[in-house]
Symmetry: C2
Subunit: 215 residues, 2 copies
Amino acid sequence: MRETVATGTGKPPRGMARERLLDAAVDVIRAQGYSATTVDDLCAAAGVTKGAFFHHFASKDALAVAAAEHWSATTGALFAAASYHEPTTPAERVLAYVDFRRSLIDGEPAAYTCLVGTMTQEVFGASPEIRNACRDSIFGHADTLQADIADALTDAAKADGVTAASLALHTQAVLQGAFVVSKAANDPQIARDSVDHLRRYLSTLLAVDRDAMTP
Amino acid sequence: MRETVATGTGKPPRGMARERLLDAAVDVIRAQGYSATTVDDLCAAAGVTKGAFFHHFASKDALAVAAAEHWSATTGALFAAASYHEPTTPAERVLAYVDFRRSLIDGEPAAYTCLVGTMTQEVFGASPEIRNACRDSIFGHADTLQADIADALTDAAKADGVTAASLALHTQAVLQGAFVVSKAANDPQIARDSVDHLRRYLSTLLAVDRDAMTP
DNA sequence: GACACAGTACCAACTGGTTGGTATGTTGTC
DNA sequence: GACAACATACCAACCAGTTGGTACTGTGTC
Protein backbone atom coordinates (compact mmCIF):
# COMPACT_ATOMS: atom_id res chain seq x y z
CA MET A 1 0.00 0.00 0.00
CA ARG A 2 2.92 2.32 -0.37
CA GLU A 3 2.55 5.22 -2.73
CA THR A 4 5.36 6.91 -4.55
CA VAL A 5 3.31 10.05 -5.18
CA ALA A 6 1.21 11.64 -2.51
CA THR A 7 -2.48 11.74 -3.28
CA GLY A 8 -5.13 13.19 -1.06
CA THR A 9 -4.02 12.81 2.53
CA GLY A 10 -1.23 10.41 1.68
CA LYS A 11 2.35 10.93 2.65
CA PRO A 12 4.08 13.59 0.55
CA PRO A 13 6.97 12.47 -1.59
CA ARG A 14 10.49 12.81 -0.38
CA GLY A 15 12.30 16.04 -1.27
CA MET A 16 9.26 18.27 -1.07
CA ALA A 17 9.33 19.21 2.61
CA ARG A 18 11.01 22.56 2.20
CA GLU A 19 8.71 23.73 -0.57
CA ARG A 20 5.65 22.46 1.26
CA LEU A 21 6.68 24.28 4.42
CA LEU A 22 7.17 27.56 2.55
CA ASP A 23 3.82 27.26 0.81
CA ALA A 24 2.15 26.44 4.12
CA ALA A 25 3.88 29.38 5.78
CA VAL A 26 2.43 31.81 3.24
CA ASP A 27 -1.09 30.57 3.89
CA VAL A 28 -0.96 30.05 7.63
CA ILE A 29 0.93 33.22 8.52
CA ARG A 30 -1.39 35.34 6.41
CA ALA A 31 -4.35 33.82 8.23
CA GLN A 32 -2.97 33.77 11.78
CA GLY A 33 -0.06 36.16 11.88
CA TYR A 34 3.54 35.18 12.42
CA SER A 35 3.83 35.11 16.20
CA ALA A 36 0.57 33.24 16.61
CA THR A 37 1.71 30.60 14.15
CA THR A 38 3.62 27.79 15.84
CA VAL A 39 6.17 25.55 14.25
CA ASP A 40 3.78 22.67 14.84
CA ASP A 41 1.06 24.57 12.98
CA LEU A 42 3.35 24.90 9.99
CA CYS A 43 4.40 21.26 10.11
CA ALA A 44 0.79 20.12 10.33
CA ALA A 45 -0.25 22.35 7.43
CA ALA A 46 2.66 21.14 5.34
CA GLY A 47 2.19 17.50 6.33
CA VAL A 48 5.74 17.11 7.57
CA THR A 49 7.31 16.52 10.94
CA LYS A 50 9.30 18.83 13.14
CA GLY A 51 12.45 16.99 12.24
CA ALA A 52 11.95 17.96 8.61
CA PHE A 53 11.31 21.55 9.62
CA PHE A 54 14.56 21.95 11.53
CA HIS A 55 16.43 19.98 8.91
CA HIS A 56 15.64 22.69 6.37
CA PHE A 57 15.46 25.78 8.59
CA ALA A 58 17.75 26.67 11.44
CA SER A 59 14.97 28.39 13.34
CA LYS A 60 11.44 29.70 13.05
CA ASP A 61 12.85 33.12 12.20
CA ALA A 62 14.97 31.61 9.44
CA LEU A 63 11.82 30.16 7.93
CA ALA A 64 10.21 33.60 8.06
CA VAL A 65 13.09 35.08 6.08
CA ALA A 66 12.86 32.23 3.58
CA ALA A 67 9.09 32.64 3.40
CA ALA A 68 9.48 36.34 2.57
CA GLU A 69 11.88 35.43 -0.22
CA HIS A 70 9.56 32.65 -1.37
CA TRP A 71 6.74 35.19 -1.41
CA SER A 72 8.83 37.57 -3.51
CA ALA A 73 9.65 34.78 -5.93
CA THR A 74 6.13 33.43 -6.38
CA THR A 75 4.39 36.79 -6.55
CA GLY A 76 7.19 38.10 -8.74
CA ALA A 77 6.52 35.31 -11.21
CA LEU A 78 2.78 35.98 -11.06
CA PHE A 79 3.23 39.66 -11.83
CA ALA A 80 5.89 39.09 -14.47
CA ALA A 81 3.53 36.78 -16.36
CA ALA A 82 0.47 39.00 -15.97
CA SER A 83 -1.05 40.77 -18.94
CA TYR A 84 -0.82 44.29 -17.54
CA HIS A 85 2.52 44.64 -19.33
CA GLU A 86 0.83 44.44 -22.71
CA PRO A 87 -0.45 48.00 -23.26
CA THR A 88 1.80 50.09 -25.42
CA THR A 89 2.03 53.21 -23.27
CA PRO A 90 3.65 53.24 -19.84
CA ALA A 91 0.69 55.06 -18.30
CA GLU A 92 -1.70 52.40 -19.54
CA ARG A 93 0.57 49.71 -18.14
CA VAL A 94 0.59 51.34 -14.72
CA LEU A 95 -3.19 51.64 -14.67
CA ALA A 96 -3.49 48.07 -15.93
CA TYR A 97 -1.28 47.04 -13.02
CA VAL A 98 -3.69 48.73 -10.61
CA ASP A 99 -6.61 47.03 -12.30
CA PHE A 100 -4.83 43.72 -11.96
CA ARG A 101 -4.19 44.29 -8.27
CA ARG A 102 -7.85 45.16 -7.84
CA SER A 103 -8.93 41.97 -9.56
CA LEU A 104 -6.89 39.93 -7.09
CA ILE A 105 -8.89 41.23 -4.14
CA ASP A 106 -11.54 38.61 -3.59
CA GLY A 107 -12.62 36.10 -1.00
CA GLU A 108 -11.17 35.94 2.47
CA PRO A 109 -8.66 38.61 3.54
CA ALA A 110 -6.14 35.85 4.26
CA ALA A 111 -6.26 34.94 0.58
CA TYR A 112 -5.59 38.36 -0.94
CA THR A 113 -3.53 40.20 1.67
CA CYS A 114 0.23 40.49 1.66
CA LEU A 115 2.46 38.16 3.64
CA VAL A 116 5.32 40.58 4.09
CA GLY A 117 3.03 43.46 5.03
CA THR A 118 1.53 41.35 7.78
CA MET A 119 4.89 40.14 9.04
CA THR A 120 6.39 43.63 8.97
CA GLN A 121 4.02 44.85 11.64
CA GLU A 122 4.79 41.95 13.93
CA VAL A 123 8.51 41.45 13.69
CA PHE A 124 9.39 45.08 13.22
CA GLY A 125 10.72 45.47 16.74
CA ALA A 126 12.04 41.97 17.24
CA SER A 127 13.84 40.74 14.14
CA PRO A 128 15.77 43.05 11.81
CA GLU A 129 16.53 40.07 9.55
CA ILE A 130 12.86 39.35 8.88
CA ARG A 131 12.05 43.03 8.65
CA ASN A 132 14.74 43.54 6.03
CA ALA A 133 13.47 40.57 4.06
CA CYS A 134 9.99 42.14 4.11
CA ARG A 135 11.42 45.52 3.11
CA ASP A 136 13.28 43.97 0.19
CA SER A 137 10.10 42.26 -0.96
CA ILE A 138 8.00 45.42 -0.87
CA PHE A 139 10.64 47.69 -2.33
CA GLY A 140 11.62 45.13 -4.95
CA HIS A 141 8.06 44.95 -6.16
CA ALA A 142 7.75 48.74 -6.20
CA ASP A 143 10.87 48.82 -8.34
CA THR A 144 9.14 46.83 -11.07
CA LEU A 145 6.73 49.75 -11.48
CA GLN A 146 9.17 52.58 -11.31
CA ALA A 147 10.32 52.71 -14.94
CA ASP A 148 6.80 52.84 -16.35
CA ILE A 149 5.78 55.45 -13.79
CA ALA A 150 8.85 57.55 -14.61
CA ASP A 151 8.03 57.40 -18.31
CA ALA A 152 4.37 58.20 -17.74
CA LEU A 153 4.63 61.09 -15.30
CA THR A 154 3.30 64.31 -16.79
CA ASP A 155 5.44 67.42 -16.79
CA ALA A 156 2.91 69.02 -14.48
CA ALA A 157 3.29 66.20 -11.96
CA LYS A 158 7.06 66.40 -12.16
CA ALA A 159 6.90 70.15 -11.67
CA ASP A 160 4.79 69.51 -8.59
CA GLY A 161 7.61 67.44 -7.10
CA VAL A 162 6.22 63.97 -7.79
CA THR A 163 8.97 61.39 -8.25
CA ALA A 164 8.59 57.96 -9.77
CA ALA A 165 10.25 56.28 -6.80
CA SER A 166 7.96 57.93 -4.29
CA LEU A 167 4.85 57.24 -6.36
CA ALA A 168 5.80 53.60 -6.88
CA LEU A 169 6.20 53.17 -3.13
CA HIS A 170 2.94 55.01 -2.57
CA THR A 171 1.08 52.45 -4.67
CA GLN A 172 2.39 49.77 -2.33
CA ALA A 173 1.48 51.79 0.73
CA VAL A 174 -2.08 52.25 -0.49
CA LEU A 175 -2.39 48.53 -1.14
CA GLN A 176 -0.98 47.66 2.28
CA GLY A 177 -3.31 50.11 3.96
CA ALA A 178 -6.24 48.82 1.97
CA PHE A 179 -5.44 45.36 3.29
CA VAL A 180 -5.28 46.55 6.89
CA VAL A 181 -8.59 48.38 6.80
CA SER A 182 -10.37 45.65 4.87
CA LYS A 183 -9.06 43.13 7.38
CA ALA A 184 -10.43 45.21 10.23
CA ALA A 185 -13.80 45.32 8.48
CA ASN A 186 -13.46 41.76 7.18
CA ASP A 187 -14.69 43.07 3.84
CA PRO A 188 -12.76 43.01 0.56
CA GLN A 189 -14.88 45.82 -0.88
CA ILE A 190 -13.14 48.29 1.42
CA ALA A 191 -9.84 47.35 -0.21
CA ARG A 192 -11.27 47.66 -3.72
CA ASP A 193 -12.56 51.13 -2.92
CA SER A 194 -9.12 52.28 -1.87
CA VAL A 195 -7.60 50.81 -5.01
CA ASP A 196 -10.17 52.79 -7.00
CA HIS A 197 -9.01 55.96 -5.26
CA LEU A 198 -5.43 55.03 -6.07
CA ARG A 199 -6.33 54.59 -9.71
CA ARG A 200 -8.08 57.93 -9.82
CA TYR A 201 -5.04 59.61 -8.27
CA LEU A 202 -2.64 57.98 -10.72
CA SER A 203 -4.86 59.08 -13.60
CA THR A 204 -4.25 62.69 -12.61
CA LEU A 205 -0.47 62.27 -12.58
CA LEU A 206 0.17 60.06 -15.59
CA ALA A 207 -0.13 60.92 -19.27
CA VAL A 208 -2.99 58.52 -19.82
CA ASP A 209 -4.18 60.07 -23.04
CA ARG A 210 -0.79 60.85 -24.49
CA ASP A 211 -0.54 59.76 -28.09
CA ALA A 212 1.64 56.70 -28.36
CA MET A 213 1.25 56.08 -32.06
CA THR A 214 4.73 57.20 -32.91
CA PRO A 215 6.69 54.45 -34.71
CA MET B 1 9.18 57.84 54.64
CA ARG B 2 5.86 57.07 53.11
CA GLU B 3 4.97 58.86 49.92
CA THR B 4 1.50 59.57 48.75
CA VAL B 5 2.64 60.22 45.21
CA ALA B 6 5.09 58.01 43.38
CA THR B 7 8.25 59.75 42.24
CA GLY B 8 11.00 58.40 40.03
CA THR B 9 11.23 54.66 40.23
CA GLY B 10 9.17 54.49 43.39
CA LYS B 11 6.12 52.33 43.71
CA PRO B 12 3.16 53.71 41.78
CA PRO B 13 0.22 54.91 43.84
CA ARG B 14 -2.75 52.71 44.43
CA GLY B 15 -5.56 52.93 41.89
CA MET B 16 -3.37 53.58 38.89
CA ALA B 17 -2.62 50.02 37.79
CA ARG B 18 -5.31 49.79 35.14
CA GLU B 19 -4.40 53.10 33.54
CA ARG B 20 -0.71 52.30 33.70
CA LEU B 21 -1.28 48.94 32.04
CA LEU B 22 -3.28 50.49 29.21
CA ASP B 23 -0.67 53.16 28.61
CA ALA B 24 2.06 50.53 28.66
CA ALA B 25 0.08 48.35 26.27
CA VAL B 26 -0.10 51.14 23.68
CA ASP B 27 3.66 51.62 23.78
CA VAL B 28 4.80 48.02 24.06
CA ILE B 29 2.37 46.52 21.55
CA ARG B 30 3.21 49.17 18.98
CA ALA B 31 6.89 48.36 19.42
CA GLN B 32 6.70 44.56 19.64
CA GLY B 33 3.36 43.54 18.23
CA TYR B 34 0.55 41.98 20.22
CA SER B 35 1.41 38.28 20.11
CA ALA B 36 5.06 38.91 20.87
CA THR B 37 4.12 40.97 23.91
CA THR B 38 3.77 38.86 27.03
CA VAL B 39 1.65 39.69 30.03
CA ASP B 40 4.87 39.90 32.00
CA ASP B 41 6.21 42.44 29.51
CA LEU B 42 3.18 44.62 30.08
CA CYS B 43 3.37 44.27 33.84
CA ALA B 44 7.05 45.16 33.85
CA ALA B 45 6.47 48.20 31.62
CA ALA B 46 3.61 49.35 33.80
CA GLY B 47 5.43 48.62 37.05
CA VAL B 48 2.71 46.35 38.41
CA THR B 49 2.45 42.67 39.14
CA LYS B 50 0.60 39.95 37.35
CA GLY B 51 -1.96 39.86 40.12
CA ALA B 52 -2.87 43.45 39.33
CA PHE B 53 -3.12 42.63 35.64
CA PHE B 54 -5.63 39.82 36.11
CA HIS B 55 -7.47 41.80 38.73
CA HIS B 56 -8.33 44.42 36.10
CA PHE B 57 -8.50 42.29 32.95
CA ALA B 58 -10.01 38.85 32.58
CA SER B 59 -7.46 37.81 29.98
CA LYS B 60 -4.73 39.12 27.73
CA ASP B 61 -7.31 39.43 24.95
CA ALA B 62 -9.58 41.46 27.21
CA LEU B 63 -6.72 43.88 27.75
CA ALA B 64 -6.29 44.17 24.00
CA VAL B 65 -9.92 45.16 23.60
CA ALA B 66 -9.59 47.68 26.41
CA ALA B 67 -6.36 48.98 24.89
CA ALA B 68 -8.08 49.56 21.55
CA GLU B 69 -10.80 51.52 23.33
CA HIS B 70 -8.20 53.39 25.34
CA TRP B 71 -6.43 54.20 22.08
CA SER B 72 -9.65 55.52 20.57
CA ALA B 73 -10.28 57.66 23.64
CA THR B 74 -6.80 59.18 23.90
CA THR B 75 -6.31 59.77 20.18
CA GLY B 76 -9.89 60.99 19.90
CA ALA B 77 -9.17 63.62 22.53
CA LEU B 78 -5.95 64.58 20.76
CA PHE B 79 -7.69 65.07 17.43
CA ALA B 80 -10.71 66.81 18.93
CA ALA B 81 -8.44 69.38 20.54
CA ALA B 82 -6.21 69.88 17.49
CA SER B 83 -6.25 73.11 15.54
CA TYR B 84 -7.11 71.60 12.18
CA HIS B 85 -10.77 72.29 12.94
CA GLU B 86 -10.16 76.04 12.84
CA PRO B 87 -10.23 76.85 9.09
CA THR B 88 -13.54 78.17 7.89
CA THR B 89 -14.05 75.95 4.85
CA PRO B 90 -14.51 72.17 5.08
CA ALA B 91 -11.92 71.55 2.37
CA GLU B 92 -9.32 73.52 4.29
CA ARG B 93 -10.16 71.60 7.44
CA VAL B 94 -9.66 68.28 5.67
CA LEU B 95 -6.30 69.35 4.27
CA ALA B 96 -5.33 70.75 7.67
CA TYR B 97 -6.16 67.35 9.12
CA VAL B 98 -3.79 65.71 6.65
CA ASP B 99 -1.11 68.26 7.51
CA PHE B 100 -1.63 67.49 11.19
CA ARG B 101 -1.31 63.77 10.59
CA ARG B 102 1.88 64.41 8.66
CA SER B 103 3.32 66.48 11.49
CA LEU B 104 2.80 63.58 13.88
CA ILE B 105 5.10 61.32 11.87
CA ASP B 106 8.45 61.68 13.56
CA GLY B 107 10.96 59.60 15.45
CA GLU B 108 10.70 55.85 15.81
CA PRO B 109 7.94 53.99 13.94
CA ALA B 110 6.71 52.64 17.27
CA ALA B 111 6.01 56.21 18.34
CA TYR B 112 3.93 57.36 15.38
CA THR B 113 2.26 54.21 14.08
CA CYS B 114 -1.24 53.07 14.90
CA LEU B 115 -1.97 50.58 17.66
CA VAL B 116 -5.16 49.24 16.17
CA GLY B 117 -3.68 48.93 12.69
CA THR B 118 -0.88 46.83 14.08
CA MET B 119 -3.19 44.66 16.14
CA THR B 120 -5.61 44.17 13.27
CA GLN B 121 -3.05 42.30 11.22
CA GLU B 122 -2.22 39.95 14.06
CA VAL B 123 -5.51 39.12 15.67
CA PHE B 124 -7.56 39.20 12.50
CA GLY B 125 -7.83 35.42 12.31
CA ALA B 126 -7.84 34.65 15.99
CA SER B 127 -10.01 37.10 17.89
CA PRO B 128 -13.13 38.68 16.42
CA GLU B 129 -13.56 40.69 19.62
CA ILE B 130 -10.22 42.45 19.27
CA ARG B 131 -10.68 42.81 15.53
CA ASN B 132 -14.03 44.49 16.02
CA ALA B 133 -12.55 46.83 18.60
CA CYS B 134 -9.88 47.77 16.06
CA ARG B 135 -12.48 48.20 13.35
CA ASP B 136 -14.55 50.47 15.56
CA SER B 137 -11.50 52.57 16.31
CA ILE B 138 -10.53 53.02 12.66
CA PHE B 139 -14.03 53.56 11.38
CA GLY B 140 -14.92 55.83 14.27
CA HIS B 141 -12.01 58.05 13.46
CA ALA B 142 -12.87 58.08 9.77
CA ASP B 143 -16.36 59.17 10.74
CA THR B 144 -14.99 62.35 12.29
CA LEU B 145 -13.80 63.39 8.82
CA GLN B 146 -16.83 62.42 6.82
CA ALA B 147 -18.98 65.51 7.27
CA ASP B 148 -16.22 67.90 6.18
CA ILE B 149 -15.34 65.70 3.24
CA ALA B 150 -18.98 65.49 2.19
CA ASP B 151 -19.30 69.28 2.31
CA ALA B 152 -16.03 69.79 0.44
CA LEU B 153 -16.43 67.30 -2.40
CA THR B 154 -16.63 69.02 -5.76
CA ASP B 155 -19.49 68.29 -8.10
CA ALA B 156 -17.01 66.79 -10.51
CA ALA B 157 -15.76 64.36 -7.87
CA LYS B 158 -19.31 63.41 -6.93
CA ALA B 159 -20.13 62.88 -10.58
CA ASP B 160 -17.12 60.60 -10.79
CA GLY B 161 -18.61 58.40 -8.07
CA VAL B 162 -16.53 59.57 -5.14
CA THR B 163 -18.37 59.26 -1.84
CA ALA B 164 -17.44 60.94 1.42
CA ALA B 165 -17.58 57.67 3.33
CA SER B 166 -15.25 55.91 0.94
CA LEU B 167 -12.83 58.83 0.81
CA ALA B 168 -12.75 59.16 4.59
CA LEU B 169 -11.89 55.47 4.88
CA HIS B 170 -9.31 55.85 2.13
CA THR B 171 -7.48 58.48 4.15
CA GLN B 172 -7.18 55.96 6.96
CA ALA B 173 -6.05 53.23 4.57
CA VAL B 174 -3.31 55.45 3.16
CA LEU B 175 -2.11 56.29 6.66
CA GLN B 176 -2.12 52.63 7.69
CA GLY B 177 -0.26 51.64 4.56
CA ALA B 178 2.22 54.45 5.05
CA PHE B 179 2.92 53.07 8.51
CA VAL B 180 3.47 49.55 7.18
CA VAL B 181 5.90 50.58 4.48
CA SER B 182 7.77 53.03 6.68
CA LYS B 183 8.07 50.32 9.32
CA ALA B 184 9.53 47.96 6.75
CA ALA B 185 12.04 50.63 5.76
CA ASN B 186 12.39 51.87 9.34
CA ASP B 187 12.14 55.38 7.93
CA PRO B 188 9.45 57.95 8.74
CA GLN B 189 10.10 59.86 5.53
CA ILE B 190 8.45 57.06 3.56
CA ALA B 191 5.27 57.66 5.52
CA ARG B 192 5.45 61.43 5.03
CA ASP B 193 5.81 60.94 1.28
CA SER B 194 2.64 58.88 1.13
CA VAL B 195 0.78 61.47 3.16
CA ASP B 196 1.94 64.08 0.64
CA HIS B 197 0.43 61.97 -2.13
CA LEU B 198 -2.78 61.68 -0.16
CA ARG B 199 -2.87 65.45 0.24
CA ARG B 200 -2.34 65.97 -3.48
CA TYR B 201 -5.14 63.53 -4.26
CA LEU B 202 -7.54 65.20 -1.86
CA SER B 203 -6.71 68.58 -3.38
CA THR B 204 -8.06 67.34 -6.70
CA LEU B 205 -11.35 66.20 -5.19
CA LEU B 206 -12.15 68.95 -2.71
CA ALA B 207 -13.21 72.50 -3.41
CA VAL B 208 -10.10 73.97 -1.91
CA ASP B 209 -10.45 77.35 -3.54
CA ARG B 210 -14.19 77.65 -3.22
CA ASP B 211 -15.21 81.03 -1.90
CA ALA B 212 -16.41 80.71 1.66
CA MET B 213 -17.05 84.34 2.35
CA THR B 214 -20.81 84.03 2.31
CA PRO B 215 -22.36 85.19 5.59
C1' DG C 1 -14.00 59.15 66.77
C1' DA C 2 -13.06 54.44 67.60
C1' DC C 3 -13.85 50.06 65.73
C1' DA C 4 -15.59 46.06 63.39
C1' DC C 5 -16.58 44.87 58.80
C1' DA C 6 -16.48 44.71 53.82
C1' DG C 7 -14.84 45.42 49.50
C1' DT C 8 -11.31 46.81 46.35
C1' DA C 9 -6.54 46.94 44.84
C1' DC C 10 -2.73 44.71 44.68
C1' DC C 11 1.11 41.22 45.42
C1' DA C 12 4.36 36.89 45.19
C1' DA C 13 4.56 32.23 44.33
C1' DC C 14 2.97 28.65 41.79
C1' DT C 15 1.06 25.57 37.80
C1' DG C 16 -0.05 23.14 33.79
C1' DG C 17 0.04 23.39 29.20
C1' DT C 18 2.61 25.12 25.21
C1' DT C 19 6.60 26.06 22.24
C1' DG C 20 10.96 26.43 19.96
C1' DG C 21 14.49 23.56 19.63
C1' DT C 22 17.41 19.03 20.10
C1' DA C 23 19.14 14.26 20.19
C1' DT C 24 18.83 10.24 18.09
C1' DG C 25 17.00 6.85 15.07
C1' DT C 26 15.32 5.37 10.31
C1' DT C 27 14.76 5.41 5.32
C1' DG C 28 15.74 6.26 0.71
C1' DT C 29 19.38 7.43 -2.95
C1' DC C 30 23.63 7.82 -5.46
C1' DG D 1 28.11 2.77 2.62
C1' DA D 2 27.96 7.51 2.92
C1' DC D 3 25.11 11.18 2.97
C1' DA D 4 20.82 13.72 2.71
C1' DA D 5 16.09 13.61 3.95
C1' DC D 6 13.29 12.73 6.83
C1' DA D 7 10.77 10.77 11.51
C1' DT D 8 10.16 10.09 16.75
C1' DA D 9 10.78 11.17 21.29
C1' DC D 10 11.96 14.31 24.28
C1' DC D 11 13.35 18.63 26.93
C1' DA D 12 13.96 23.13 29.08
C1' DA D 13 12.10 27.54 28.95
C1' DC D 14 8.29 30.21 28.65
C1' DC D 15 3.75 31.98 29.35
C1' DA D 16 -1.23 32.79 30.34
C1' DG D 17 -3.69 32.24 34.02
C1' DT D 18 -4.56 30.78 39.31
C1' DT D 19 -4.23 30.81 44.20
C1' DG D 20 -4.06 32.45 48.60
C1' DG D 21 -2.94 36.07 50.85
C1' DT D 22 -2.00 41.29 52.36
C1' DA D 23 -2.67 46.40 52.47
C1' DC D 24 -5.45 50.01 52.00
C1' DT D 25 -10.00 52.52 51.97
C1' DG D 26 -14.64 53.48 52.72
C1' DT D 27 -18.86 52.74 55.77
C1' DG D 28 -22.08 51.86 59.07
C1' DT D 29 -22.57 51.60 64.27
C1' DC D 30 -22.29 52.94 68.76
